[in-house]
């Protein structure tokens, strides 16, 4: 294979030209971009709000930081809506102040930046509580996409997307280093009792499942890969990991730039086809799952394989009796489960994690709000990649911290790496004695091999 063919990511090296503030030229460009973002969902969401305020109790920001009324979802969305109304609302064009319309100026654009990047995780909890069905997730993503295209995007978030574009994964893990890591994890796995014959097949053609990973795993949490591989091996699942496009993340879901979202998706599609796998298997990652399962087919125009997730597969393996588990391993622990917004509310996976958890432990306590009603932990929407908003992110996690505390659990389970990091931070910040684990880490020690 030639060096060029072996190069992962896009052919060009890109550094997106980000800007520290809005200029008149950028505002002018945004005006040109707006019509292209107005599909029927976004347009209906911008037109449909009746300012009833029913969303005010639905948002983890407004509930956790009640003293700041500007964190109410309708207020935040209105930063974008005002601009929209000034151009498309009949009365808004004639008497803008009467309907709350406002021409896009620097002050409004700054407010949009603050509220739509830094005070919304696109978790859609408000959408589920809106009588009019306003899709805040889509609305905010459209606004973010416009701001991103003119360069007004949180630097670290854009860097993450650029890294993915340039390297084929968002942490620039080189291919040889990744292969070495997999080999090392496989050796570690084989050192475990009863796992001598377990494998982590890389680039195995014709495997049934094409397992994808979050780059945090090979980089910082290799034990989660080991746990996943152990469970899959124990159940006799025919899987492989690609040495090329194994990264399931797609931060273009967060910055709203569709060409990148499509590009990252297309790489993965081609890679699944290259290995001839039947299933694209999303690892435990919230936005990664949603991107692969629900958005990728739309970004690339359909796929010739099936897409599923570790949560669904593990639940099926449990139900089929292919995993023998010893619950006594966890007998001195109490568990609770945090539903990632992109997995549950935007992804439809709600019962599968509970099937898995109940198979491994007898002491599982639900949080007050769970499944599609779960509050966002505060780490969604790319929030962890926006350090300029960190204090607000931590403050917004209070409702989740309170609910975790109320369960008395000492282990918080979840299936998302952004949630992992956020939960760890809020657990420490709000002085909760609990650790955070994913579902494979729950199952792996309890396996009877």
């Amino acid at each position: 294979m030639s060096e060029q063919a072996d190069k992962l990511g896009a052919g060009d090296e890109r550094k997106w030209p980000t800007k520290p503030e809005f200029t008149p030229e950028m505002l002018e460009e945004m005006e040109k971009l707006l019509p292209g973002k107005l599909n029927r969902v976004v347009a209906a969401s911008l037109s449909g709000c009746i300012h009833c305020g029913m969303c005010s109790d639905a948002c983890h920001y407004s509930v956790s930081i009640p003293e700041d009324k500007t964190l109410v979802p309708a207020y935040k969305a209105d930063r974008f809506r005002k601009w929209y109304k000034s151009r498309y609302d009949w009365l808004g064009q004639i008497f803008p102040s009467f309907v709350g319309a406002r021409k896009l100026d620097k002050e409004l654009a700054d407010d949009m930046y603050d509220k739509l990047w830094g005070a919304c995780t696109m978790c859609r909890r408000c959408t589920f509580n809106c009588p009019m069905g306003v899709d805040y997730g889509m609305l905010v993503r459209a606004a973010r996409g416009i701001m991103q295209q003119v360069g007004r995007v949180p630097q670290h978030l854009q860097d993450t997307v650029d890294t993915h574009h340039n390297s084929g994964n968002n942490m620039a893990v080189p291919r040889d280093e990744f292969i070495e890591t997999m080999e090392w994890i496989e050796e570690e796995l084989q050192d475990e009792e009863g796992c001598e014959n377990f494998k982590i097949p890389v680039d195995k053609k014709g495997a049934q499942y094409f397992l994808t990973l979050n780059p945090r795993e090979p980089k910082y949490y290799p034990l989660t890969i080991q746990a996943s591989a152990k469970v899959l091996n124990a159940a006799g699942v025919d899987f492989t990991i690609s040495s090329r496009y194994w990264d399931l993340t797609n931060y273009a879901l967060f910055n709203g730039y569709d060409p990148d979202a499509k590009e990252f998706s297309m790489w993965q599609v081609e890679d699944v086809k290259r290995l001839g796998c039947e299933y694209l298997l999303a690892g435990e990652c919230g936005h990664g799952y949603r991107s692969l399962r629900w958005e990728l087919p739309n970004w690339v125009g359909g796929v010739p394989f099936k897409i599923t997730s570790m949560m669904e597969l593990l639940a099926k393996l449990v139900q089929q009796g292919r995993l023998k588990l010893d619950k006594s391993v966890w007998k001195s622990h109490r568990f609770t489960y945090h539903d990632s917004c992109n997995i549950a509310r935007s992804g439809g996976i709600m019962e599968e994690p509970r099937i898995i958890i109940n198979a491994a432990t007898d002491d599982f306590v639900e949080m007050e709000h769970n499944r599609e009603n779960s509050y966002c932990c505060g780490g969604g929407g790319g929030a962890l990649a926006m350090p300029e908003f960190t204090p607000r992110r931590i403050a917004a996690g209070k409702i989740k911290a309170d609910e975790i505390k109320a369960t008395g659990a000492d282990i918080v389970l979840q299936s998302c790496h952004n949630c992992t990091d956020q939960l760890k931070e809020i657990i420490e910040h709000y002085h909760i004695k609990a650790k955070v684990m994913n579902l494979a880490e729950l199952l792996a020690p309890a396996l009877v091999i």
Binding site: S47, G48, N129, L313, S346
Partner: protein, 230 residues
Amino acid sequence: MENNVSHALHILEEPVQYMALGFMVLMYIIKISQMLKKPVPPEKAELKGDRVVGAFDSLLNVLKPWSMESTRKNPFFYVEFMIFHIGVALTIGATFFIPLVPVLMTPAVSKVFMLFMGLAFLIGLRRIYRRLTVPEIRIISSPDDFFAITLMTVFFAVGFVAMSMWINGSPDTGWMWIFFLMTTFFLLYVPFSKISHYVLYPFGRINFGRTFGGRGVMNKKVKNSSWNPK
């Protein structure tokens, strides 16, 4: 009952209303066609649920207060909402029934209309108070929000008084004139106001139902889900 009114009030109650109604319908046709011209986001993912069932279910959301936490936790607010909107329907209905089928508006029927107008008036006052005093509501309120709710509340009050006189055999009163003048104004104003939200309601709800119905978040009992990893 009979609607014996002056020729002038008759003109206001019928031809003027029809013209205003025609204008409103025209504006709505334009509004809806503009929305229909917007592209619908594609859905090429393998579905876990039924998008059509989801859309239908979502459209009926207004009748299912248990389906949203925001209404589950605020049953009183939901009851107010229902009474208010029934009041809207009946008040507007009255402006058609009185001139067109006055025989339907017996004293008993008229009293039912008046009951809802009266309750809707009180709820309107409460909603104005809420919009003025609850900080998170006040901060999102535009002048149109205040104008719309105030106008509706006054409309209910005027309708209530006009109907009470109608029951007492006085169809041609100053109150009835105000009632129909306000109706005409409404028909002309509503397409430009937030009051026209009912035209947008199906769009938002269908979008929601299609998306989350297809993903299996709603209608969890849908059989034959396509998801079945081996």
